[in-house]
Subunit: 698 residues, 2 copies
């Protein structure tokens, strides 16, 4: 049995505990020890429930035991609300009572500078085989077991969403919205310090949990990038994962320099990695919720063609506007369909187009029109947009849910009593309902994106790079730039073309090399002290003759010395100048969370001014590399705009995969930049390489 | 008294009508004639109310008059629900009863092909001085007079928003949200066909209406661009206008060609025009609502520094993330402030930074922390983010509202009963409350944008171009391209530099001109049949000698003839080649709605691939031109990136203002492209001009 299978079983037995004890239960309503016990009671927990407090007496009407050891029989799970320093003792007592897990709400660990306490409880966990959730959490709620071990809120509406979150408030907000909308949740897990069980474990558990259809995550960081991605990939094959990651505007992510390292704000890399392994990534809390709702209730769309059917021109237009901007397709209706719609007894003010504006509130027209659209296979997704209350609308949705082949979503605009009640009833049927057309479209677009991921997945599973600390422990402080002539060796190992070249240590040698290569040539300084050669005038292009080479050989020494007086110049690299083409940048870096990463962008202003670059975690599957190439905003330049040539994207895709492989094979590569790589109509060539290498720390 | 002053008075007397008659009132609950009468009754109208129906009898418990003429006394306003063809008669009867206005709900006019009926009612309106709202509308609601003349919904919560909308459903949604949140509305106006009174009139009315603090508009088109902008400018000086325009993804707006005409999707021009005259433009209905709420309740921010104070790290981070991405400033807290906050009795888990995470729910800590932040002038806006219910929180907000100098907003996350109730109470105090931090930030950002507009306005009012049809009636079908040598004359009239040049009709003449100008030179074909010269190889650059000029003179004839065999070649333009620099595109076009428009963008891929272009309505004030230059994404290129030169933006700004002036002076210009304009470190030069001119149609 795999390690993660075992963890799933542990979590299963914790969340389905038949007996729990709240250690630190209190009689004072404003204390967490009271609130948690109260939540468990109000949540309707049906197992055995014990309150533990050294003072004994009664708490919330039940006997309080002075210590865990005095509780009769075994205890599956302890819920700990005592001060941090007492937690180790409670854990040992719990282990003695046969507990399989502990939910540690107590704060005062690493966040209060007590990393030692965390190490102590982890050691106890390992010694006794008791698994830990938290510490420093608002708690957890698992509805199949009616176990709401949380300060607040008490959520009782069981539904398809499992919420896993690093913020108790975000957990509360998502759960409460799901309850209010009649959608419901299967679970709510606050992550806290993740001393033992971590985000990857919860993903694995909910992947196997039949009560959960969608995993919804709010993350501030990642404890283990490799395990996270592996769990994500396993999950995404079975059910969607929607993620919101905070910190998208880190100062670090705003740096505008041009090398791979500085482009890779942790947020960009995080999003790229998540999408690569199937997650739907959002940047707004309400949209995360809408997307989760859509993923839970929308039948997997077969394509991205949307038809909106509404009571109102306004609602239909809002829907189409948002759909087009979210890469959905709003196709015109086929002529035969229009004819048949025209024969229905619609309002004379109806607009028979897409969006289809019925200009009326007759429920039966919605039913007939939707059936016709579906019958003509005119849509992959039908959005019914009730912009005014429609009497009988709910029955229509019920019928359509089972009748039509297309995916079905509803937007029920307005905030009147009728709309709220109607929305609730539709949600209960299992059709997702949104308060505006735009919010519906954002959810639908995410479902389409996930459906597309499931299709590309058919290319087979990926290998995920292990960031196992034992294996790849490199010390970033021992890093140095590799001189270009040496770095070129890395390229040839992977059959990446670089111009013919030689290294000269004298004017004569430079001229000799240039004469041999043929003109024009480029010369570049070779110095460990000038990683950005152009900034110190260390590169001269377009030398046409031996005289020019001679002049520039001396000039380049002078210029570099003027810019960096202490620079040690170890030679001059003389390269045959490449033909004209399109310059792009290809890079790799070692990310502390996800390991080797590859980057691609168009060079120059696209990278420096517009930050139009794409990241993927290595190793790349072929379709990952294809996506990298086609996702940049400047993609039309590669395909040839306005009479410009079409560049060799096939070789570019291969290059990206080679660089990805190199980054995996050579984890000592901290940063690698091929900038530029020059693309031709046939083939390509790396014209410059900048390589930052680390040493293994042992 | 100005024309618009008179219209304001008319609207005042209509909306404050003391006696109204519903013509077409009905006893059948599903009919609009019943619903409208019912809404007026339920809305609590206190003036005289008459039902008119030829059948007489009783409707909703009151006497129905068989005709208007039988109603006793005068009638201020008639509300018309009868079939379209009967409307002219009703209007004449109404005029006879002294009515000042008619609210025409009836449909069946231009939308049903009956433009003639619209002309008829407009003629009646002019003849009798009776002003018309509609036709083809769900109705209107004016709360100061408790006049809810609308099918539905009946909104009774009076508040600061005046809604003006082209969609009845959007009106209903916005009104219902405002009612549910305790915000309320002053009015809801559906525009319909705008036969008489139109969007500009309503803007003017609500600008003067003391019951209204914010004008909220949903628009699908504009009836009169010049009047709309003039009204917008008058309004924006007094109160904010928030606008959502549908149709942002028109197929037309997606064209990717490179000349000004094709770049100007009507949506882009519309948004640019609205922003230029002070409106806050949104692209999502819910955001429109949030922005309206913020504009109504947030004290005008003095700057854009935001401090978030929250119960929860998660909520604070979401707030900061959104703030940074909306161009708000999230400054670090000053050291002295941090010290003082540190001396408060906060939770040991509190994070004293911005966002400030109190890690607790003690109301008094919010009060103390906010006061300290304000005392140290650390924020222009303070966002209090309650992510969990805070006992006493409402009292704190009440105190802060009057105590602090900073603008104050609240985010109250979660959907529990407590949060909903708490949010309502805070909104009633007049502090805007939002359900997520991100939605709060979007509102705040809009308020900051409006505050900035008010500051730039101090540069003085603008002149708005009149699109008066009588004056500028040009027929687009009579348009033709002006040959470049002639078009250059337009430039010299405005002192816009163009290279020294001459037109040659023979090889000898070309060489003679080139010799005189000095090499290198550029030669271009002069032909009415090749407006895009480069596409037909009609431009050759970098000619270094008379021999090269000779060769190319012949070559260019051959190439152009091969591309367009029928092309008439009227000469060859020989220009002195300009020095290197940065190429940009500057253009003008005559927009059917807003008249002369100017455009600016970086040339090449920025324009063609990225559509990074900016529009403004002419005439430009200086700060408009400055904004155009600084708002393009490629702006860093103008300011010099990575050792590149800094270009002459001062001359560029002057050029934009000259082009704007030219477009105003010469309304025969349908499209003008200077592409490229080459910028130097000092000065600039138009290198090519493409001019499409129209003829006056009479």
């Amino acid at each position: 049995m795999g390690k993660h299978q075992k963890t799933i079983e542990s979590l299963e037995s914790i969340l389905n505990a038949r007996s729990v004890a709240v250690v630190g239960a209190s009689n004072e309503p404003h204390k967490f020890g009271y609130m948690t016990l109260d939540s468990i009671l109000r949540g309707g927990y049906e197992g055995k429930l014990y309150a533990v407090n050294p003072k004994g007496g009664k708490i919330l009407g039940r006997k309080a035991y002075p210590s865990l050891s005095e509780v009769p029989g075994t205890i599956d799970v302890v819920i700990i609300v005592v001060p941090a320093k007492l937690v180790p003792t409670v854990l040992r007592d719990a282990a003695a009572k046969g507990a399989k897990g502990a939910i540690i709400q107590s704060a005062g660990f690493r966040e209060a500078g007590r990393l030692d306490l965390e190490e102590e409880i982890l050691a106890i966990s390992r010694e006794y085989g008791i698994r830990l959730m938290g510490p420093n959490i608002q708690g957890i709620n698992y509805l199949p077991n009616r176990l709401c071990a949380m300060f607040f809120p008490v959520i009782k509406t069981k539904g398809p969403l499992a919420i896993v979150s690093q913020s108790g408030s975000v957990t509360a907000a998502l759960s409460e919205w799901a309850e209010r909308d009649g959608l419901g949740i299967s679970a709510a897990i606050n992550l806290g310090n993740q001393v033992d069980l971590c985000e990857a474990d919860y993903i694995d558990f909910f992947t196997e949990d039949d009560n959960t259809n969608v995993i919804v995550m709010y993350l501030e960081g990642i404890r283990d990038g490799g395990r996270f991605l592996a769990a994500l990939e396993r999950a995404s094959c079975k059910k969607p994962v929607a993620v919101l990651k905070s910190g998208r505007t880190d100062a670090g992510a705003k740096s505008a320099a041009s090398h791979t390292g500085s482009m890779a704000g942790s947020y960009e890399v995080f999003c790229a990695a998540c999408r690569q392994y199937g997650a739907v990534v959002m940047d707004d809390l309400m949209t995360l919720y809408d997307v989760a709702k859509a993923l839970a209730g929308l039948k997997t769309p077969k394509g991205k063609r949307l038809v909106t059917i509404s009571t109102s021109g306004g609602a239909g237009t809002l829907s189409s506007d948002e759909a087009e901007s979210r890469d959905l397709n709003v196709p015109p209706l086929p002529v035969e369909l229009k004819d048949e719609l025209g024969r229905l007894d619609l309002s004379p003010l109806a607009h028979i187009s897409n969006p289809l504006d019925l200009a009326g509130i007759t429920a039966d027209h919605f039913l007939q029109a939707s059936r016709l659209v579906d019958h003509h296979d005119a849509a992959d997704i039908i959005l019914i947009s009730f912009a005014d209350p429609v009497v009988g609308g709910i029955k229509v949705i019920k019928t359509l849910k089972t009748d039509i082949k297309a995916s079905l979503a509803v937007s029920y605009m307005g905030g009147g009593e009728e709309e709220i009640k109607g929305g609730l009833e539709i949600q209960k049927i299992g059709v997702p309902v949104f308060p505006t057309p735009e919010r519906a479209i954002r959810g639908i677009a995410a479902a389409v994106q996930y459906a597309r991921y499931l299709q590309t997945k058919k290319q087979g599973p990926s290998e995920i790079f292990s960031t196992d600390k034992e294996k790849w422990d490199y010390a970033d402080k021992d890093q140095r730039f590799i001189l270009e002539p040496e770095a070129i060796g890395y390229l040839s190992d992977y059959y990446i073309p670089y111009p013919d070249h030689g290294v000269a240590h004298s004017t004569e040698e430079a001229v000799e090399i240039a004469d041999r290569l043929g003109y024009p040539v480029v010369i570049k300084v070779v110095s460990p002290d000038t990683p950005h050669k152009t900034d110190v005038k260390g590169v001269v292009v377009g030398l046409q003759s031996s005289d020019e080479v001679k002049d520039c050989f001396n000039q380049i020494h002078e210029d570099v010395k003027r810019a960096v007086p202490s620079a040690s110049i170890e030679g001059i690299l003389v390269c045959k100048q490449a033909p004209e083409g399109l310059d792009v940048i290809v890079g790799a870096l070692y990310d502390p969370i996800f390991g080797p990463i590859t980057m691609f962008g168009l060079g120059g202003i696209f990278t420096e001014v517009l930050r139009d670059v794409i990241f993927r975690v290595a190793p790349l599957r072929r379709h990952d590399a294809e996506e990298m190439v086609s996702e940049i905003k400047g993609y039309p330049l590669l395909k040839g705009v306005r009479g410009q040539p079409k560049y060799d994207t096939e070789r570019l895709i291969e290059l990206l995969m080679s660089i990805s492989r190199m980054a995996i094979d050579r984890p000592e590569i901290k940063e690698l930049d091929l900038n530029p790589v020059r693309l031709f109509e046939n083939g390509l060539m790396a014209l410059d390489i900048r390589l930052l290498k680390r040493e293994a720390s042992k």
